[in-house]
Symmetry: D2
Subunit: 299 residues, 4 copies
């Protein structure tokens, strides 16, 4: 790539999709959330990612959410569209649609249903086919907790040399793997920590940024962690990292998207309902989240 590279150094939270009480898209509430995030210290957004409940949206809904986001996001912040699908042709279709709408880059989760056949060869072919035809930069997305599949490091390393594939979001949390990906890929291949829980560790081994669900709630804390790290104050960064562990867990592995939406409600954003088969939280779980966010000074 001879053009100035789209820089992924920074924070790109995966924004939730807003639904109304009937379970339909609530794009007004979604755009109102976006306006508020625009005043937070963030560098862009992942729209229609795992936290955006993309797996529960129809293809048309996925495009509609990206379109609504594009209207609400200023040009100096990146819109990264979640465009992964199980089939190669379905993925390409979404990529083309989101690129036309104005997505700056696209995040492509590994196909995983036929996981026994998702060899390095199959995945390299899948991503290469799309990258050869895509008009915007692509970011690989490894999230074994959802897919039950770990994108082989060999596949990522091979794909990193494709000029359209600029980076990878790794949510697996295997820090040795992340260090190895940084070491084995070209300097302009950008690795993103897939969760705030290993942001500091990720930065220490060469990740440049993060796609933190917690960034929807605690952008300032995470931005401060990054700036302390870059200023060489590891101890300071470490203290923030420690404080962010419990709230990060609450809105990811512990309570998931329902927990994240409950956190948004508590912070005065629109959280609202999740789609089935996800379930809303009990009152007691919401209270637990409130307590955790307060203790971490996020509320």
């Amino acid at each position: 790539m001879t053009d100035p590279v789209l820089s992924l150094a920074g924070l790109f939270p995966p924004v939730p999709t807003a639904f109304d009480d009937q379970g339909d898209l609530n794009l007004d509430a979604f755009q109102a959330n976006m306006e508020r995030w625009n005043s937070e210290p963030l560098d862009g957004y992942v729209v229609g990612g795992s936290n955006g409940e993309f797996a529960l949206l129809s293809p048309d809904e996925r495009l509609a959410v990206v379109r609504a986001a594009r209207q609400a996001i200023p040009q100096d912040r990146f819109l990264i569209g979640g465009a992964g699908a199980e089939s190669t042709r379905g993925t390409l279709h979404l990529c083309q649609g989101m690129a036309e709408i104005g997505a700056d880059a696209l995040l492509l989760v590994t196909p995983s249903y036929y996981k026994a056949l998702m060899t390095t060869s199959a995945l390299v072919n899948h991503y290469t086919y799309i990258a050869d035809r895509a008009s915007v930069p692509l970011i690989l997305y490894n999230v074994p907790a959802n897919t039950g599949l770990n994108l082989p490091a060999e596949a990522a390393i091979e794909l990193a040399s494709h000029p359209r594939i600029i980076g990878m979001k790794d949510s697996g949390g295997d820090i040795v793997r992340i260090a190895g990906l940084v070491e084995a890929t070209p300097p302009d291949f950008q690795v993103l920590a897939g969760s705030a829980s290993f942001l500091l560790a990720g930065l220490s081994v060469g990740a440049v940024g993060c796609v933190p669900a917690l960034g929807n709630l605690a952008a300032e804390h995470l931005a401060r962690l990054m700036s302390l790290f870059h200023a060489g104050d590891i101890e300071g960064a470490r203290l923030i990292q420690q404080a962010m562990l419990a709230p990060n867990r609450a809105v990811t592995s512990q309570y998931g998207v329902p927990g994240l939406k409950a956190g948004l409600d508590l912070r005065g954003y629109y959280g609202g309902p999740v789609r089935g088969p996800l379930q809303g939280l009990s009152e007691s779980d919401r209270n637990d989240i409130e307590r955790i966010l307060r203790k971490a000074e996020i509320l």
Copy 2:
């Protein structure tokens, strides 16, 4: 259920979906295949299941395949439509569409993308919501090799009391679990072995039928295994079971859907291409399959 129950005792192979060289549906070839299967000793078909590459089809394509199958299947054979989707609303939509087309029953794979949140409670709610609204019988579908999720036995046992949920296809191969499901569910809840590799073991612990990928190629062998078992000739059934292990592995865990389609080509059916990210087989793999099928006297 006071009506005569839809009996799942028998063989219901999951038929592959046919594509042309451009990767589009080839419904003519699909219907020609169906005509041939209609003369085999089978009791019905699963249309649009995992071996039907449902995960690589659009919702409209999934309905089109069921429609084409319905035209080709005589009324005395059951058409079981694969109608599972990640979202509850998407699943219901497919259920309604397939019921209108004439599916006799529907097979509902577990949603799995948000697997950490797919608790017994969430899955019971998901299936109950659909069962309360469905107009045809439903069959639960557990296939951890694809979904990375094991439908909790507790969930299946609870759901077994719903009048619309008549059985379960279990492809996990855990024979103790299958025995336990038979033991803990009402007598009219029907358990299906999800693969021919544990057909005999499944029958021995109370499964009533099977959804065997291998049934697309070796219906006679499997029908004979079942009739020997029911005649009390376990030793005879065991010899067939042993002979079927290698070909079953070839068209499932070893070579997957591409292997099954290669087997169809070899048997004179239309196999044809798979959709990406699945990949066609090498010549050497096809030769391996041919050798295996010949040795088992399937060719």
Copy 3:
């Protein structure tokens, strides 16, 4: 093997080791238990297996338990000694000691601490080294729930041709694997189900016997299941199999050796304490076991 083969067709429960209140061996109580089992419809015993807490015994204690068992077991019942250890030399040492004491055969669990290196080659070398030097028949022992290692089927198949290796106990419960082992090994290689939970399924695919923890408590039920199976009454066998699922689970995966010893206490045998880090059961867990055994008519 040209000698009459040691037949493993039958029931060989893995007998618990008895400890006194100080945690020392209680060989008197152990021998008293053995006397009672001798009047049950059993074909032999595994002494010093997983249910014998072998992993918590010193090498000297392991030999002492086999010696005590030999004194109590009539010559027409087989004594199978658990002689596996992590090191090849340690395993051989135990094999020689137990053979001298009079063990009829030896059960050798897979070494597993260096599991990443326990390749087919390493395991074949390990077992072959011992088999070449052993003076009694050997039985492979695969128990992934304890070892975290699945003995590769390829290794077992290769080892099955060694004249000193007469069979395999597989506790993994993967019935397709068991069927495949029967299919791929010589007719005189004998496969044993490692748990009563898949006894019927195991018999149906060609296993000849079982090493059931539950056999310590319910020998008559299991012996009846086997004789019904051999008489062709699968339905009768299946009803017993179903009734045995809950008690089997109670004394294996649910409550483990402490549960088995509690069951012995309830049946009037000497159960007694387990060794740390195993823990005795709470009163409520003991009551649960009593309830389960009563319901299955074992008490």
Copy 4:
């Protein structure tokens, strides 16, 4: 603890045990190795750990190795003895023996054979029983790649308050877990990275030291990484960390103890044979290791 705490800040490589060609202990060669390590920038040693093939030694041999090490290690370097065993009583016996010999602290791997029963409660009781009776400080040891068991974080956090339990070696590499352990335990509870592959990431989240197999070969590199980190030069530390990934993998997950011993041979130490069931390396594997060590400037 009111005494000056034994500080685990630093590098404590797990030294291999030396065998002669008959497979017996070669304590002379072992002590000669120790003399050379004494001139390297190390802070102490783990003797009889996983890399010391403890699982393949008899209890007497384990004590003999610690005794030989004590003779060769100066008083200003710590000798940490590997004293874990499956049984609580066996572990205590080793602890007492090694303390008498002069071990400064003891490393206690989780018992794991009865892994389904190794609940938080069982593990807390096991370690507490020993800690209440031990005369030297204890270090918990979590190594799921060998044990197939992940010491529950809750157990570690509870045990961290015992005055005799001063820290934990975690070899699992889960950096979020390590960060969480640092956060949830008292300031004087010391967490050690169990492998050089996540040394930098570990330090960044609060680990104080490391037990690196690679430290037997590359003490200077790792010591330099640590001092750069403490000087705030993360980028410099990161470059060393990257260069150490391949050699670390070679002597751990890729080639294991046989690889580590091959590396010792190449560096002029005594490597020598491993014990069965471990196997020596092929010539081609040894050449691969030589190439990797040269590229990393360890040779």
